[in-house]
Structure formats: structure tokens, C-alpha cells
């Protein structure tokens, strides 16, 4: 079956503009995660959705970042008033159950965001 997909694959924007990044998880996966990966760095957790529960937003770096997950499937990560330090690859992952411990996350290809 299809894996996790993300769009766009690349996004170039000007400082101060808003951007929306999209993630389509694997069908049937109830958990969805967003991470940020700066050049040559590890994965920085941003936000986690599990079913109908309130999302875990503990990793969002500022109130300019927000995310939604509609109908328990597609998710959109929105960055308002983008700054140059927001430039990174934004990765989405999904897992079958989430929050149950030991649940394998499957990653999408990422969206590379460049803020000029």
C-alpha cells in the first residue's frame, strides 16, 4: 500500500509569509507526528495526534506554529509569519496505534522549507 506522503516536496517563501505543509498518513494509522530536521541535525519533535484525543503540542517552538488533523487522516502544519530560522525539512510520520509504547513510526519524504 501507499506510504506516508507529503506536499509540497519543496517550498520557498519570503520572510513574513504564511505556509501550509500537508501530510497524508498511511491509511488506518491513528497516530500522526510532525518533526523538524535542520540541516545535518536530528529530528526535533513538534506535535503528535492520536485519534480523537487532544494533540500533544509540547514540541511546537512558538505560537507561529500550529497543526490540524481533519477527520483523523490528513494533517496540515501551518507556520505563520515565517522566519529564516524556520528553514528546515519538515517530516511527517504515522503509526498504527500510537501512545501504546513500541509503535513503529513510518515517515514521509519530507517538505524542504526555505525562507528567504
Amino acid at each position: 500500500g501507499a506510504g506516508v506522503s507529503q506536499s509540497p516536496s519543496n517550498k520557498v517563501t519570503e520572510k513574513g509569509k504564511d505556509v501550509e505543509l500537508r501530510c497524508d498518513p498511511i491509511s488506518g494509522h491513528t497516530a500522526l507526528y510532525w518533526y523538524r530536521q535542520s540541516l545535518g541535525q536530528g529530528l526535533e519533535f513538534l506535535i503528535y495526534f492520536q485519534g480523537n484525543s487532544a494533540p500533544d503540542k509540547s514540541g511546537l517552538p512558538s505560537d507561529r506554529f500550529s497543526a490540524e488533523r481533519t477527520g483523523g487522516s490528513v494533517s496540515t502544519l501551518t507556520i505563520q509569519r515565517t522566519q529564516q530560522e524556520d528553514s528546515a525539512v519538515y517530516l511527517c510520520a504515522s503509526s498504527l496505534a500510537g501512545g501504546t509504547g513500541g509503535d513503529t513510526q513510518y515517515f514521509g519524504p519530507g517538505t524542504r522549507l526555505t525562507v528567504l
Binding site: V4, Y33, Y35, Q41, G42, L43, F45, Y48, D56, L91, A93, G99, T100, G101, G102, T104, Q105, Y106, F107, G108, P109, G110
Partner: protein
Amino acid sequence: GESVGLHLPTLSVQEGDNSIINCAYSNSASDYFIWYKQESGKGPQFIIDIRSNMDKRQGQRVTVLLNKTVKHLSLQIAATQPGDSAVYFCAASSGFQKLVFGTGTRLLVSP
């Protein structure tokens, strides 16, 4: 909270050699561990995982070893190939907590 670190940022090996990538974790309550491979321009790809009730698990050309006493995890790749060149991440979680990722080790395989 949990922190996960890899011992070396870069590991260079010759094609055909065995590679060993090491990882240390801080939380003795961690009970699930996973290795990912990330090639340039792609998202991390699942390689192998292990739970704390095991100390060794084997896959195709890969073996993960877990030493809970010293909180150490390793990934062994047998007969390393140029296609194995990538960044390798370990991650750990405990109970219902989310995975915490290490910073990654870049594996360079020379022909």
C-alpha cells in the same frame, strides 16, 4: 526525560566490512528501541526494532544488540555495501511516551 545520543557523528568503512553503530540512552525505564536509516533527500526508513525483554534481534544483514545494564544500543551491519551509506538514527521510548531520537551517525562506505 529521555535523551539519546550516538557515539560517533561519522563512521567510515570499506565495502564488505562489518559496521557497528552505537547509541546510548539515559532513561533506564526505556523499553522500546528502534533504528532508522535516512538517505540524502529522503525521510527516515525503519530498519529494525527491539523491546527491552530481548537483548538481540536479527534482520536481513542487520543485528541490533541491547545492553540494558549500561543503557547501550548498537546496530551491526554485515558485509556493508555502498547502498548502506546514509545517516542512521536510534530512538527510544518508555511506556506510553513518544520516541526520542538521537542526533544520527553518518555511515560512509568506500568501494
